[in-house]
């Protein structure tokens, strides 16, 4: 039953398919051997015992001088009668010789002797009959023999006495002999019976022996047949295994625990260039591995030997370098299986020459790298293009805006309006593409700020309320469970949700849009936040549901004409969610409505939730505001307009203080956002004038400025302003400010930073890495000159030049994001304005150098591409 271990490819733990038979068979063999021996020895013993008994019995039978007792006793009577007859004859004829008489007596005597002294009688039970007979016969012989042996005359005289004696003996003998024969017959019967039963037992024993022999023969025959069948099976399996191994395309090498090659198949011979004869017996590692891989292999083997565990064996495929006979190296793939055999552990190595594959992989990788590089170039190009497009677009829009103010007839107004809306749409497209490009290029910087999700959603809903009302659709915010403050990029989150909500509104007429917000604790410290925007609109066919998150997909083609969408909204939402580690999706049924969901892992903020704040809640009830934006910078104006319109407010624009003041006097605005520095009329003057008279004299007027010092705020308030909004303006901040909260307070007196990283990030985002570097390099190159001018202006007699130089410095530092320096210059400028130039010069002399050094150091510490 031992199968050639080389031919057995199964990993350990697998049993050969016929192990069941093996078990049964070996069990039978195991038990049949002693059983056979026991049966044979018992049979032999029985037969031997019976044989000996039979033998001895037969010997007795054969040697016993039974001598036919019937015949002998009959002869006794006959001899006695004949003797007696002779005696009677002689009594009548006295002349006749007595020799015949004496012969008859001798014969009678002899007969008596042979019966009485023979073994026949001895063998017989010495019972009373035998004794009596013996005694009687001996008495007769003792009486008669002397008479017979006496001379003739005396014998003749005794004849009548002999005759009488003989007659008497005859009668007594007859009785005794009959008794004896009866006794003998009974004994003979007994003996026959005993012998018969002995023979019968022998026959039974013989039968049993024959039967057991037959059984043993059958068993032997059966075992033999089984063995032959198993041998055939083994041969068949062995040849099948051998054929499998030999015809395998993979090289198969079997080695023992020491790494000695036991088997080397055809493919191995072809691959490595050794004939099986050369290979078998040599060390596997030395044979087919280059010196470098050999150490690896030896290490693996020693680990297996030491731990008694096969870490590497039976565990997938490894890549190694192999070596052909000539020393040529090539990559190979190796799978090792181990198997425990009676002769110890064997390892079966399956090896494959993967030169072609490795080459193919290499060229694939190269092709992929080229393609990826091209894709990256394209993405970068798109990003740059989009970014670059925005600047001139802003210019175009500003120009159109200015032109629209100068339009003199309806036709011009119509064309200008058309041009303006086209420009706006173009800007949105450019922004969309820029968003996608940024995400793709991995350049998107995510904010990590604390925010209130509930408020964010409610703000968005508030902003869309006018559109909802227009479509007859109700919007409901439904928080499920408590909502803590979260940390994340609220701007991107609101971008996603805004997209979901505007989509829902677009496709829902006279329906209902429910926004559900739910959080769930995750295994890590984060919360999983899910926001679902559920509408009762037209719904999306199942086949389209996956598609809508792809780029440039718009299901309703007719919508393209009526809307200004690019079909990038959901694609951006998907990318943004992914960038934030979350996902978006949709569940929808055609005609029933859709549910767009967003799931994000977000950290929990430290501050308490403010959703319960009654002030915030009441503020949310404010829906539409009439807002006037007074801003001379076209870009800022457009950005503000865009933001406010997205929030759902009605926006009116003015390009300078005078125009703003005029509009404000003519119309009652809820809020006026006022830039400070403007041509024609500055913001403060305009505010004073608005407060003086007109419909908006009680409106909220907020300053919009790049910098806000406490003194500035004082000035704004003096002019009649309600608050200040510091640039850059974010969506959330704008929303808060409009609701009357979050107005920028004077910055605390904490030591300002040498460099503001957020600003640097903003710049990087806006200008791109190279643009940022260019700008900073320029700044560093220009600054010594600036500083020289500044110090020169600090000298007595030159103090009149100090204020504009400080103003310039504050602007530059604000732009580059160096708050400490910026504040220094701003303070100096303020001192100059108050006429205290000497103090301003002292301040700059005292701290300018140090702060510059700090800023310089911080700039150097920036991780900028050179």
């Amino acid at each position: 039953m031992e199968i050639n271990p080389k031919a057995q490819p199964q990993a350990k733990g697998l049993r050969p398919p016929f192990s069941g038979i093996v078990l049964e068979w070996s069990k039978i063999v195991q038990w049949s051997k002693p059983a056979m021996i026991a049966l044979a020895s018992v049979s032999t013993c029985v037969v031997a015992i019976l044989w000996f008994r039979l033998q001895s019995e037969m010997l007795t039978y054969r040697q016993e001088a039974i001598d036919n007792i019937h015949f002998n006793v009959a002869q006794i009577e006959l001899d006695l009668v004949r003797f007696q007859a002779e005696v009677e004859i002689m009594a009548l004829q006295p002349a006749e010789p007595l020799s015949e008489l004496r012969l008859r007596f001798d014969l009678l005597y002899s007969r008596f002797q042979s019966i009485l002294k023979g073994k026949m009688f001895v063998a017989l039970d010495r019972g009373d009959i035998v004794d009596k007979l013996t005694w009687r016969v001996e008495k007769y012989l003792n009486d008669t023999t002397p008479l017979i042996d006496s001379p003739d005359p005396e014998l003749r005289a005794a004849l009548s006495q002999i005759d009488d004696d003989s007659k008497k003996l005859r009668l007594e003998l007859r009785v005794l002999i009959i008794q004896l024969i009866t006794r003998y017959s009974a004994m003979a019967d007994e003996r026959r019976e005993a012998f018969s039963s002995l023979v019968q037992r022998a026959a039974w024993a013989g039968a049993i022996v024959i039967m057991s022999l037959a059984m043993l023969s059958a068993l032997v025959l059966w075992l033999n047949r089984k063995a032959v069948r198993l041998a055939c099976q083994t041969v068949r399996l062995s040849s099948r295994f051998a054929a499998t191994v030999e015809t395998s395309l993979d090289a198969i090498i079997v080695s023992d625990e020491q790494g000695k090659v036991l088997d080397f198949n055809n493919s191995a011979a072809t691959n490595f260039g050794y004939s099986p004869k050369e290979a078998i017996g040599s060390d596997l590692a030395d044979l087919i591995l280059p010196p470098l891989s050999r150490a690896l292999y030896t290490d693996m083997m020693s680990r297996i030997n030491r731990d008694g565990m096969d870490h590497d064996a039976n565990s997938g495929r490894l890549q190694m370098t192999g070596m052909r006979k000539g020393g040529q190296e090539f990559p190979l793939e190796l799978a090792v299986a181990s198997h425990n055999t009676a002769a110890g552990m064997i390892f079966i190595a399956f090896l494959r020459d993967i030169s072609d594959r490795v080459q193919a992989e290499a060229s694939l990788v190269q092709a992929r790298d080229v393609a990826m590089a091209a894709e990256k170039t394209k993405t970068n190009f798109m990003a740059v293009m989009s970014h670059e497009m925005r600047t001139p677009l802003n210019g175009v829009m500003a120009a159109l805006e200015i032109a629209s103010g100068m339009a003199v007839n309806d036709k011009q107004v119509r064309f200008l309006n058309l041009a303006q809306s086209s420009a706006r749409q173009l800007l949105r497209h450019a922004n969309d593409v820029l968003d996608i490009s940024k995400v793709e290029a991995g350049q998107m910087h995510l904010l990590d700020e604390e925010f209130d999700m509930m408020a964010l959603v409610q703000d968005l809903v508030a902003g869309l309320q006018p559109l909802a009302t227009q479509k007859g659709t109700e919007m409901i915010v439904k928080p499920l469970g408590a909502m803590p403050r979260l940390v994340g990029d609220y701007f991107r989150i609101s971008q996603i949700l805004q997209n979901f909500m505007t989509n829902a509104l677009k496709f829902t007429e006279n329906g209902k849009i429910t926004i559900e917000i739910e959080t769930q604790r995750r295994k890590d410290a984060l919360l999983e936040v899910e926001v679902r925007v559920i509408d009762t609109g037209v719904g999306i066919a199942e086949s389209d549901q996956a598609r809508i998150f792809e780029d440039f997909v718009m299901l309703d083609q007719s919508f393209v004409r009526t809307s200004d969408g690019t079909g990038l909204g959901l694609a951006i939402a998907r990318r943004l969610a992914q960038a934030m580690g979350g996902e978006v999706g949709v569940e929808s049924e055609l005609g029933e409505g859709s549910c767009f969901w967003m799931r994000l892992p977000l950290a929990v903020g430290e501050m308490l939730s403010q959703t319960e704040d009654p002030k915030a809640a009441s503020a949310l009830s404010i829906d539409l505001l009439d807002i006037l934006v007074v801003e001379d910078n076209a870009t800022n104006r457009i950005v503000l307009e865009e933001m406010l319109q997205q929030m759902g407010h009605r926006v009116t624009m003015a390009v300078d203080g005078r125009q703003g003041m005029e509009v404000a006097r003519a119309y009652a605005f809820d809020v006026i956002l006022m830039d400070i520095s403007m041509p024609v009329m500055d913001g403060l003057t305009a505010t004073t004038m608005i407060r003086a008279e007109g419909l908006s004299m009680h409106s909220r007027i907020l300053a919009v400025t790049a910098h806000s010092m406490p003194t500035d705020l004082e000035r704004f308030k003096n002019a009649g302003m309600d608050g200040c909004l510091t640039k850059p303006i974010s969506f959330g901040k704008l929303a808060e400010v409009l609701l009357g909260d979050g107005l920028d307070e004077p910055e605390p007196q904490a030591k300002p930073k040498a460099l503001n990283p957020a600003r640097i990030d903003d710049l990087r985002e806006g200008l791109g890495p190279t643009g940022l570097v260019r700008m900073i390099t320029r700044f560093r190159a220009d600054f010594p000159d600036f500083q020289a001018r500044l110090l020169a202006a600090c000298a007595p007699g030159k103090l009149a030049d100090l204020m504009p130089i400080c103003h310039e410095g504050a602007g530059v530092c604000a732009m580059i994001g160096a708050p400490a320096l910026q504040q220094l210059y701003a303070k100096a400028e303020a001192l100059c304005r108050d006429g205290d130039e000497i103090k301003a010069a002292a301040l700059i002399m005292a701290r300018g150098e140090a702060l510059w050094a700090e800023a310089e150091a911080a700039i150097s510490a920036l991780d900028l591409p050179s």
């Binding site: 037969m58 010997l59 001088a65 036919n68 012969l103 001798d106 005597y109 002899s110 073994k119 023979v199």
Partner: protein
């Protein structure tokens, strides 16, 4: 049962009986007996000294080749040494032919044996028992005795029946 028994006996005898090759000597010329005649040999014989065959006395028997062996018998209590003439030697001496030897006793008991039974280690016509002539009372004067002790095959009832004593006539025939 007896068949089985006799079969075994037959098998055993076959094994133990050696092939026989009697060397017949030239028949001897016999004069009429001078002493008391003991036995009459008759039938298919070449040597005769009387009308009905060859009559021999003790002295004449003594002139024939003598043979001795000691054996126990069913009829004697101890071992006894017999002396006499081998049947085989008698056959040679009298020039007997035929297939059967018939032995007749004084009491007219008769038994026949095949002539082939006469062998070198076969039956002997004994006339001396422990160097003494055998009286009729002791189954004399001539007794066909087999070497029972030497050969187990002879210790059988058949052979015992063939051991004719008080022989008075020996006849050769078919």
């Amino acid at each position: 049962m007896y068949r089985f028994f006799s079969l075994i006996v037959l098998l055993l005898s076959c094994l133990s009986v050696p092939t026989l090759s009697p060397a017949y000597a030239q028949p001897v010329a016999f004069a009429p007996p001078l002493g008391i005649p003991i036995v009459t040999v008759s039938g298919a014989i070449t040597a005769t000294n009387a009308a009905d065959g060859l009559v021999l006395d003790l002295d004449q028997l003594r002139t024939l080749p003598q043979h001795r062996f000691t054996t126990s018998t069913p009829w004697t209590e101890a071992k006894v040494t017999f002396q006499g003439v081998l049947l085989k030697d008698l056959i040679a001496a009298v020039g007997a032919s035929g297939t059967t030897v018939t032995l007749m006793a004084l009491d007219d008991y008769t038994n026949s044996i095949p002539i082939t039974d006469a062998k070198d280690d076969g039956p002997m016509l004994a006339f001396l028992m422990d160097d003494k002539t055998i009286s009729v009372r002791d189954k004399g004067p001539l007794w066909l005795i087999y070497p029972f002790d030497d050969n187990a095959a002879y210790r059988s009832e058949e052979t015992y029946a063939q051991s004719v004593w008080q022989i008075k006539r020996i006849n050769f025939g078919n």
